[in-house]
């Protein structure tokens, strides 16, 4: 087993997801299969190989520091599930 059911629960929490008991079972099984498959990468000797995070690496893509139009508050809030005044409304954060 690469990943246990308890780890699945922990990772789900990190990802802000929750699962039913059936789903936990299924995901534990499927994630184990996938992780067992990717284990083949350990056959590759990567000593001194630089990791590649972008195939075409551009460094410091700067642009001129010019003020441009941005979304106005009405448009920014237009898709909000809940808004009040110029704010996004969320359930309480602090007790």
């Amino acid at each position: 087993m690469k990943i246990t059911r308890a780890e699945v629960e922990y990772v789900a929490h990190l990802a802000r997801l929750e699962f039913s008991e059936d789903e936990k079972e299924k995901f534990t099984f499927q994630l184990n299969n996938i992780l067992a498959y990717v284990d083949m990468l350990n056959q590759v000797d990567t000593t001194d190989i630089e990791p590649v995070s972008h195939a075409i690496a551009l460094n410091n893509a700067f642009r001129e520091d010019v003020v441009e139009d941005s979304l106005n508050p009405e448009l920014s809030l237009a898709n909000a599930p809940e808004a009040r005044g110029p704010f996004f409304r969320v359930p309480k954060v602090i007790e």
Partner: protein, 485 residues
């Protein structure tokens, strides 16, 4: 022939001669949509009213002599591209009601060129899939056999072009999502070099792999679409500030004296025998045109899928953290507190495949596992990129099958994620290396299912791909067929 069956360049000729109007073309496309859409379900959102208004506008420009090769041409957009004022869902419940306040750069560019948008087309949820079966709006069917999948994730884009429900379309390709459905639906699909086309307004899946590209009925149309969408954009800091050639200039140059690499690692067990046969005929056609086919090696090919299934989910888990029920999209009924609201929203808003990938990605990036998974995968990615750099010192382009099999049946691979992932085995490497690829039709199976050939070239060598694919297309003498709908 109906107008909706023609290509961009054929329609453009009729338009410039004033023999047809954009309005007539759009009418013909919507008549087709009304007839076949119930069987195929390419579209998630139709833009009929806007399309006719845009066509009238295009007709006015045409009368004034203000004509580009795209003026008045009906184009469908994958529902992962932001369209101002038009719902953009990514096939997901979590974005089912999202109306972008801006257009993607590619949408802006096509609009400016006079294209007419017919609607938003179906896709696997968040572009994660190879069959267009995970959309929250239901499946899309392959026009060549309604019991089969159209490929994915841009299945709607491919099916709409194959069924003549639009003239061309745009899709996105993270691991093969343009090329694989193009092959399975018998149309041309190109994934440009990473950075060639702006990703501004493309809803992110895996940011180091995603590229936007065209689906067309032939290679000339592919060149025309590329001419419009390619180029640097200051709003995408990963787009590359390089000049864009006129891709149509590559169409009739021929390939005499070229060297075509045939990677031995791509001709493996598990390839459908009819796909293998089609590849052999393709090689014969190419050699007949004066090109030399040589065996090459891409030694790390066997690791591509494993690398991809760490890197893509890792980037996805980070990109999809933004769907929290606060700023846009779906929110599940108020939780007791913020944390509960997040969890309920994301659990109800995402489908199973998206959750699976978020889980893999979160795990691979989590404390204690980062080096073992993400770093290791990124290192092997470097080796894969190196394989291609070496190969392109020996050949001009590389030829492979686009997909190991023709279209599979609906439901066949839904319960086995790894089997589903394997259908992208020949396309993923191009995304990891950032190189461009094109899929062109290269024949049919005996059951009448399309087969695609994939050509790959070095960074920013889309012109070579168009030159190669166009020479092949003109000389392959493939039977002209249309799906029987």
């Amino acid at each position: 022939m109906e107008l909706n069956q023609l290509t961009i360049h054929e329609l453009h000729e009729l338009i410039t001669k004033r023999e047809v109007s954009s309005t007539q073309i759009v009418q013909s496309v919507f008549k087709r949509i009304e007839t076949v859409e119930k069987d195929i379900h390419s579209y998630v959102t139709l833009m009929k009213e806007r399309a006719f208004a845009a066509a009238a506008d295009a007709d006015k420009r045409i009368r004034e002599g203000d004509i580009t090769p795209m003026t008045g041409i009906p184009v469908a957009l994958k529902d992962v591209l932001c369209t101002k004022g038009i719902r953009t869902t990514c096939g997901s419940r979590i974005l089912h009601n999202y109306i972008p306040p801006y257009d993607a750069t590619v949408v802006e560019k096509l609009k400016a060129a006079g294209a007419v948008f017919t609607g938003k087309v179906n896709m696997d949820e968040f572009a994660m899939g190879s069959s267009t079966e995970t959309s929250c709006f239901g499946i899309t069917r392959n026009p060549w056999d309604l019991k089969r999948i159209p490929g994915g994730s841009s299945g709607g884009s491919a099916a709409a072009v194959a069924a003549d429900e639009c003239i061309a379309s745009l899709g996105s390709d993270t691991g093969g999502s343009i090329r694989q459905p193009a092959a399975l639906c018998g149309v041309v699909g190109m994934k440009p070099t990473y950075g060639r086309v702006s990703r501004f307004g493309l809803v992110a899946f895996a940011s180091s792999l995603d590229q936007i590209g065209p689906f067309t009925k032939d290679v000339e149309d592919c060149a025309i679409m590329m001419n419009v969408i390619a180029g640097y954009d200051s709003r995408d800091s990963t787009s590359v500030p390089l000049d864009v050639p006129d891709y149509t200039a590559f169409l009739s140059r021929g390939i005499d004296g070229w060297t075509v690499g045939i990677p031995r690692e791509y001709f493996i067990e598990g390839i459908d025998p009819e796909v293998m046969e089609a590849m052999k005929s393709t090689i014969a056609v190419i050699e007949g045109l004066g090109a030399k086919c040589v065996e090459i090696s891409l030694p790390h090919t066997g690791y591509c899928l494993a690398v991809y299934y760490i890197i893509a989910p890792a980037e996805a888990s980070s990109n999809l953290a933004r769907y929290d029920g606060v700023k846009y999209g779906f929110r599940a009924g108020d939780g007791r507190d913020l944390l509960e609201m997040y969890k309920k929203t994301r659990s109800a808003g995402f489908g199973a495949e998206v959750k699976r990938r978020i889980m893999i990605g979160t795990y691979a990036l989590s404390s204690g596992y980062y080096d073992a998974y993400y770093k290791k995968a990124s290192q092997v990615r470097g080796l894969i990129k190196g394989d291609f750099e070496k190969a392109f010192t020996q050949c001009d382009v590389i030829l492979t099958p686009t997909s190991p099999t023709p279209a599979f049946t609906i439901g066949e691979k839904m319960d086995d994620p790894l089997q589903m992932y394997l259908s992208d085995i020949f396309t993923i490497s191009a995304n990891l290396a950032g190189i461009p690829g094109i899929s062109v039709p290269c024949g049919f199976t005996r059951r009448g299912l399309p087969i695609g050939a994939q050509f790959l070239a070095g960074h920013f060598e889309e012109g070579k791909l168009i030159q190669m694919a166009s020479a092949y297309e003109k000389n392959a003498n493939l039977e002209k067929r249309r799906p029987n709908l």
